[in-house]
């Protein structure tokens, strides 16, 4: 089996993978990074979104061997080193942007990519950008509000 080397959230890691192993499976099964979630088998749900060399990628759409040598950012690397939530994560908590939490890692990684591209998106732009991330719990309202808030736009806060 081929061995791949990745830099995941700033740490060098290596793993043996089959040629057919996709990156999402490699992260979860070979590297124990179970924050990235697998919710489908057709690259529709977006639960597995990570950043590969700075680009948001559904990690079930690339083979692990294709990512050899890449810098990968996952949900596990998003909070600050002291464990406090980053601005997007905090906005999701403040605006009830999650319920069961399963789609949340992909949502956070997509939201981060969106705000890098478009620091002050409109609500319609947020909804369009998130069309590749499915949430079954929230009806998206809390998620949209959270991303508006994280980008510094005025939204009534949900939580105390």
């Amino acid at each position: 089996m081929p061995t791949i080397n990745l830099n995941v959230n700033g740490t060098s890691m290596s793993a043996e993978v089959e040629n057919r192993t996709v990156l999402s499976t490699a992260l979860r099964e070979r590297l124990g990074m179970t924050g990235t979630h697998i919710g489908c088998d057709t690259s529709q749900c977006g639960g597995c979104v990570v950043h590969v060399n700075g680009q948001a990628v559904k990690s079930c759409t690339i083979f692990a061997v294709e990512a050899d040598g890449a810098e990968v950012e996952t949900i596990e690397g998003q909070a600050y080193i002291d464990g406090s939530l980053n601005i997007i994560q905090q906005a999701f908590q403040d605006h009830h942007g999650l319920q069961c939490g399963f789609c949340t890692p992909g949502m956070i990684m997509s939201a981060a990519a969106l705000l890098k591209e478009n620091p002050k998106p409109t609500e319609a732009e947020i909804r369009a950008y998130l069309s590749g991330n499915i949430c079954r719990c929230t009806g998206y309202q809390g998620i949209v509000n959270a991303i508006m808030a994280a980008s510094g736009q005025s939204v009534a806060i949900a939580a105390e």
């Binding site: 089959e18 057919r20 192993t21 979860r28 099964e29 990074m33 179970t34 924050g35 990235t36 979630h37 697998i38 919710g39 489908c40 088998d41 057709t42 529709q44 749900c45 639960g47 996952t74 949900i75 596990e76 998003q78 909070a79 464990g83 939530l85 994560q89 999701f92 908590q93 403040d94 009830h96 999650l98 319920q99 069961c100 939490g101 399963f102 789609c103 949340t104 890692p105 956070i108 609500e123 947020i126 909804r127 369009a128 998130l130 069309s131 991330n133 499915i134 949430c135 079954r136 719990c137 929230t138 009806g139 998206y140 309202q141 809390g142 998620i143 949209v144 949900a158 939580a159 105390e160």
Partner: protein
């Protein structure tokens, strides 16, 4: 009063932190040492006779440890239905065995007939491909009406019919209802379909079986909404493992919506395999397997008649429904189309006559069971669509016809014609609120604006009532339930004053870890953050019945409340002893015990410590420790209600429907955490809008699931939905549980589908199209066809 953030506060959810950091622990995130992996061979035909399953080639594949077929489970029990329904003629329902693996016949596409366990998942999946199944394809039973015709192919040969039961509710009302309809000045009739839905919780099911030969203990880690019920079913019916030798652990669960209430064969298989192989065995569903094998929802075909006076006063509702139960009876499948549906067929109304007939039909499709709302969405859709049609026929405003028939505030408790006793509500007040928040008066101006843009705008109105907080055991026992539906909680005050609360409810998105402490903190006057909830593990929690039917707070929360009251009672004894006075002279307020009329007081924390250091206790009067359990069995269902409005724009060129606004006014009684309640309603609205516009589990005539992936089945996405306006500020307290709460988890999914369809039909009517009804999902093709035929 809580020190901070008690009942009524929009407290941030503490569970969010681990989820936001990627530190949630869902079942598939557990991989015990020496785990082996399981994959299933599933039928690709809907109905077939199994001649032979040749596993030799698969067993010889690299890494394969074992291959199982139905033969291996021929002697174990079947997975039972939880409710026994009796047909109108007094015959018990037909209850064919549901085996762990298909044996003799396969009965739906996705029916598992063999399983491979291998060193790696890839090896297991490769070996499944090598299994040679000799299966004769038989004619598939798909359409319900055809299934009941004589000469139809059979799903279960041994029961010689495809009809599970033919149920009447209330049978004694049948003649009077028939008579009332025969003599009524006006009768409106509507035939409609409540479309089949695939739940699609974002986390696919997953189960890990473990066995310890040193102790004989089994452990099942699984995606369940109710671990104790799963354990009971496995122990009492399927495998006979003693309950005290089986732990069922449902850790973080990524959504359920009903589909994870039930025990599934895969759970039994991984346990049996773990024992036989002396290895942990893990199975993780793919999304494709989820589509094919999770219990689906809805799938009713209904004819409803509304008889009324010319002024719109309702005289009778009569319903005939065919309800699809799929190929096997899932655990709640027989309750959903009957007691969770027929009993709601009086709606919010003082109608005197109601009769419901439901024929449940076996088909060669995936089992159908309770899905968010479970029977109440079907009831509400039928009622609120036929009422809209009647209003149009009679020239009445849809708000007025509903108001004319509402149960009025002075009529509670109100005995509905469908057999329930509504304890509280005020439907006019909700409609008043809706008229205001949704600005119904401004609709005409908005319609004119849409018309300028070439769009047909419509307004849909709806009111609903539902019965949740499931359920009083004595009542459901009479109605055929084979279980009680109480719940349980243990409150353990630790010596250092913090509190652990073990609950039977299971949180898979509902926020129990935040909301339940708000209840405890409010009663004890402590900081909610000093209260931790323990749930999901049968080795740690009392025997509760889990989470579904919007029951967690109303039933389990009430158990938490009662157990906390017991804590206060016991702590008062200890405090009185500490202050050398009588318990009846001691008051408890804001976290302190004080002797009336004196300045003697002790804090809750000091009492907790004393409970565990009982050096001077009068042991005949006070036991050491401070831990109490309560089982709470509700006296009635709770009855949330609501008034909803939706405005849509229809593009007359394409038939595409856009939702411009959706407003939900709900009465949930007391609200513990308004932020969580709002989120629950918004999620329900999204699922209801999904049902109304997008989602459809479609089987072709051969029983192949055409919408069997997320590329084919249209899940609501962020850009499909509008801003969801939710208001639960108006409340009438539930009269019979100690918190006064009603349950909010399903309301949005119950109230929204007819609201959307009413709006679309209204838009077409106002646009000059004589369209009475469009079946869900109201897709562009269907709307366009309705406008152009």
């Amino acid at each position: 009063m809580a020190a901070d953030g008690g009942m009524g506060h929009a407290t941030k959810r503490r569970e969010d932190v681990r989820f936001l950091m990627g530190r949630g622990k869902y079942t598939d995130d557990y991989t015990p040492a020496q785990t082996s992996y399981c994959a299933f061979a599933r039928s690709n035909v809907a109905n077939g006779k199994i001649n032979n399953i040749d596993t030799a080639a698969a067993a010889a594949m690299p890494g394969v440890i074992a291959v199982f077929t139905g033969e291996d489970f021929a002697d174990v029990g079947g997975n039972p239905a939880g409710w026994a329904i009796v047909s109108r003629d007094g015959e018990p329902m037909k209850e064919p065995k549901r085996p762990v693996l298909a044996h003799g016949k396969v009965r739906h596409v996705g029916d598992a007939y063999a399983a491979v366990v291998a060193e790696t998942l890839e090896q297991a999946m490769d070996a499944v491909e090598a299994i040679e199944a000799d299966i004769d394809e038989l004619d598939a039973v798909v359409d319900m009406a055809s299934a009941l015709a004589s000469g139809s192919a059979l799903v279960h040969d041994e029961i010689e019919t495809n009809m599970c039961f033919d149920w009447g509710w209330i049978e004694d009302n049948r003649a009077a209802t028939d008579e009332a309809i025969k003599n009524a000045p006006h009768v409106t009739t509507l035939e409609l379909v409540n479309n089949r839905l695939v739940p699609n919780a974002m986390e696919p099911r997953c189960s890990i079986g473990e066995y310890d030969p040193g102790t004989g203990d089994y452990k099942l880690t699984t995606t369940s909404q109710n671990p104790h019920l799963t354990r009971l079913l496995i122990s009492a019916f399927v495998m006979g493992i003693p309950e005290n030798k089986l732990t069922v652990h449902a850790p973080d669960v990524g959504g359920g919506f009903g589909s994870k209430i039930y025990h599934y064969g895969e759970e039994a298989l991984v346990l049996a395999a773990a024992k036989k192989l002396n290895r942990p065995v893990k199975w993780t569903s793919t999304r494709t397997e989820a589509f094919l094998s999770d219990a689906h929802g809805r799938d009713h075909v209904t004819k409803i008649e509304l008889a009324c006076e010319k002024d719109g006063t309702f005289i009778a509702f009569r319903t005939e429904t065919l309800a699809n139960v799929g190929a096997y009876l899932s655990n709640f499948s027989t309750a959903t189309p009957t007691f969770l549906h027929g009993t709601l067929m009086a709606g919010n109304y003082t109608v005197p006559n109601v009769y419901v007939n439901v024929k449940a039909v076996f088909t060669n499709t995936a089992p159908v069971d309770a899905y968010r709302g479970a029977g109440r969405p079907e009831a509400t859709f039928s009622l609120e669509r036929v009422i809209d049609k009647a209003a149009r026929e009679l020239g009445l405003n849809p708000v007025d016809i509903r108001r004319k028939n509402f149960v009025k505030p002075d009529q509670y408790p109100f005995a509905s014609a469908a057999g329930l006793e509504y304890d509280s509500g005020n439907y006019d007040a909700l409609m008043d609120g809706l008229e205001d928040v949704a600005d119904l008066a401004g609709f005409e101006a908005r319609r004119a604006e849409s018309a300028k843009n070439g769009k047909l705008r419509g307004l849909g109105i709806n009111s609903y009532i539902e019965a949740c907080g499931i359920a009083p055991s004595n009542l459901v026992g009479v109605l055929g339930s084979r279980v009680g539906l109480y719940d349980a909680a243990t409150v353990r005050v630790n010596a250092t004053g913090n509190i652990s609360v073990m609950v039977g409810a299971h949180s898979h998105g509902q926020g129990h870890e935040t909301a339940f402490p708000q209840v405890v903190a409010d009663l004890l006057g402590v900081d909610p953050m000093s209260v931790e909830i323990v749930h999901g593990d049968t080795s740690k929690i009392p025997f509760g019945m889990g989470t579904y039917g919007s029951r967690s707070l109303a039933v389990c929360g009430s158990a938490v409340f009662r157990a906390t009251e017991k804590i206060i009672k016991k702590a008062t004894l200890i405090a009185a002893h500490m202050m050398e006075d009588k318990p009846e002279n001691v008051d408890f307020k804001d976290g302190e015990f004080a002797v009336k009329g004196t300045n003697k007081k002790v804090s809750f924390g000091d009492v907790a410590l004393k409970a565990y250091i009982p050096h001077d206790f009068p042991l005949e009067d006070i036991e050491p420790g401070l831990e109490e359990t309560a089982f709470y069995d509700p006296a009635n269902f709770t009855y949330p209600s609501g008034a909803y409005a939706c405005e849509v724009e229809v593009d007359p060129d394409t038939g595409k429907v856009e939702i411009c606004s959706m407003v939900a006014m709900d009465d949930f009684g007391n609200v513990v955490n308004p932020m969580i309640v709002t989120g629950q309603v918004q999620g329900g609205l999204a699922q209801g809008i999904g049902q109304a516009l997008l989602e459809h589990g479609i089987y072709d005539e051969n029983g192949q699931l055409l919408s069997g992936s997320l590329m084919d089945y249209a899940m609501p996405r962020a850009d499909d939905l509008p801003n969801l306006v939710v208001d639960h500020s108006y409340a009438t307290r539930c009269t019979h549980n100690p918190i006064g709460v009603k349950g909010c988890g399903e309301a949005g999914a119950i109230g929204s589908p007819p609201t959307v369809v009413n709006a679309v039909v209204d838009a077409l009517q106002r646009g000059g199209h004589d369209v009475d009804h469009i079946d869900m999902p109201v897709s562009p093709g269907r709307v366009w066809a309705a406008m152009n035929t």
